[in-house]
Amino acid sequence: MQFKSMVISNTEASPGYYRMRLTAPHGLSTSRPGQFVMVKVRDAIDPLLRRPFGIFDLGSSVAEFGDGSEQTYLEILYRVVGRGTVMLATLHHGDHLDILGPLGKGFEQGTPTEEKILVGGGVGLAPLYYLAKELVKESPVRLFIGGRTREDILCVTEFERLGVETYVATDDGTLGVSGLVTEVMERHLTEKNQAKTMFACGPMPMLKAVAEIARRNAIPCQVSLEAYMACGMGACLGCVVKGREHEDYRPDYRCVCKDGPVFDFRELQWI
């Protein structure tokens, strides 16, 4: 659906990272973890295109104004990287945005009770929070979160509050273990030998490493990809990734927006 949304809050979660809470129509509450929204950051022809953001959180709270009825809200987590996000970061409570969503295919949540392993890098954490909120209802959840430095590690407290066991790794060792999050995660895998499913979102090198670990250990794994996109609905074909030759899948370009953003790692070509 396409809707006008009001900014409820827009706060800096860590230097360069913001969390924005927005009003949303009730219909959005059926969105699945892993789906995303396209946000028009400004009602003007520049910047021209919408910006895609994974759903960080979705819920309802008592409306701030009015009769005390429930108001659905949507949260996005974003890093200020370019003109669009610079503009988003200047918005305040009461500002309005035009939003399209929910778009794309979300995560398959897997077998209940089985251990769920979440791997997030930097702002790639965004879709994993909403996912964790759903998963903790039925399964033990562990989160491995990585970044260059401590400022790239977001929302650890929020995950812990859900009951998610959280492990942190930074390249420079300023928070958690020094090193790659994927290495920390793999050590954990070899320690415990029960059935698990992995879910990952983050930079491509991290996803590649996660996919390799999933392949080596024969663990089901879904990855959520980021891509430049114009439309978000499978029309522009700008956001494609190359699908891998596989008996169940066609070996051609796949739209991150429509066939994804969540893919079974076996669907993709990782080279």
Binding site: K40, L48, L100, C231, L237, G238
Partner: protein
């Protein structure tokens, strides 16, 4: 006041209003069905089709530029067979003319595709994309050589009795010459403009942003160029013209009609607002009502110079 007459006709294709969706920006219609009432727009032009499926270019394929975007998708499409099998069943259910944009690498491919589409009842007409290289003639682009354009349009013309629209490239010195060549080959209508070739550079990486190095510029940034070309071509040839280029609003659309277009195509605007075509058609009608204009056709070429 009575509702104004918004209908127009292009080469026998009757449309409820002059607003069409541009090829490559609206998928096969179905993708947008949840966001737009397809029976409120004039016509749907589907994603460029070739005989065989095409994978398209490597990524990055798109980049935003000031007031526009560059794309180098590489004509990725499902191919004729899958189009007929998987796309026409939905299109059949929509009471809006469907025009198929087609292309090939050789004149024979264009003709063969037109021949097959001639037998597909869901297809109201074809739009010939002449912006791709002619592999047989060493990569010369059909859209920039009047003789090559004539040959390809002539071949399509002979392969189908359905209306033939030719989509012109703006990347030429004299677009009027190209328009004449297509008219001489018995095209029924012309649509213009396709994207302007451009490029974007990443200073930090010292590399082009697009994997293809260059791409086609679309969006509001190209509107003035498109208006000028529509105006030039409309004065020079008798064929109906479909104006394309950065149309974001009813005002933009009406400007093209004043310049001589009978209809318009909405392209990049569909990406930012999937209901753009519907909104533009509605707002055009409102403009007519507010200005006491009974028939949109009164505005075609009504520019006072």
């Amino acid at each position: 006041m009575k509702r104004p007459d918004m209908s127009v006709e292009i080469a026998g294709i009757n449309m409820r209003n002059p607003v069409m969706t541009a090829s490559g920006t609206f998928g096969y219609g179905e993708e947008f069905a949840g966001y737009v009432d397809l029976e409120t727009i004039g016509a749907i032009i589907t994603k460029g089709l070739s005989l065989k499926p095409r994978a398209g270019n490597p990524t990055p394929r798109i980049v935003e530029t000031p007031g526009g975007m560059l794309n180098a998708i590489g004509l990725q499409n499902v191919g004729l067979e899958a189009f007929i099998k998987t796309k026409t069943p939905f299109l059949r259910t929509v009471d809006t003319p469907v025009i198929v944009n087609l292309f090939g690498n050789t004149i024979e491919e264009y003709a063969e595709l037109a021949f097959h589409l001639d037998r597909v009842p869901e297809v109201a007409g074809v739009e010939v994309n002449i912006s791709c290289p002619n592999v047989k003639l060493g990569g010369i682009v059909f859209g920039t050589d009047p003789k090559a354009a004539y040959s390809v349009v002539r071949a399509v013309r002979e392969a189908t009795v359905k209306p033939v629209i030719v989509k012109l490239s703006p990347n030429v010195t004299d677009i009027v010459e190209m328009a004449h060549a297509c008219a001489d080959a018995d095209a029924d209508a012309l649509s213009l403009i396709n994207t302007l070739t451009g490029m974007a550079i990443d200073l930090q990486k010292r590399r082009p942003v697009l994997a293809n190095v260059t791409g086609g510029l679309s969006g509001p940034a190209i509107k003035p160029v498109a208006l000028r070309m529509v105006w030039q071509v409309a004065r020079a040839v008798k064929l109906p013209i479909i104006g394309i280029g950065g149309i974001m609003s009813a005002i933009d659309a009406l400007e093209f009609i004043l310049a001589g277009a009978t209809a318009v195509q909405i392209g990049t605007a569909n990406f930012l607002d999937p209901s753009a075509a519907q909104t533009i058609a509605r707002d055009m009608e409102r403009y007519l009502v507010e200005n006491g204009i009974a028939d949109v056709k009164e505005l075609i070429g009504a520019l006072e110079v």
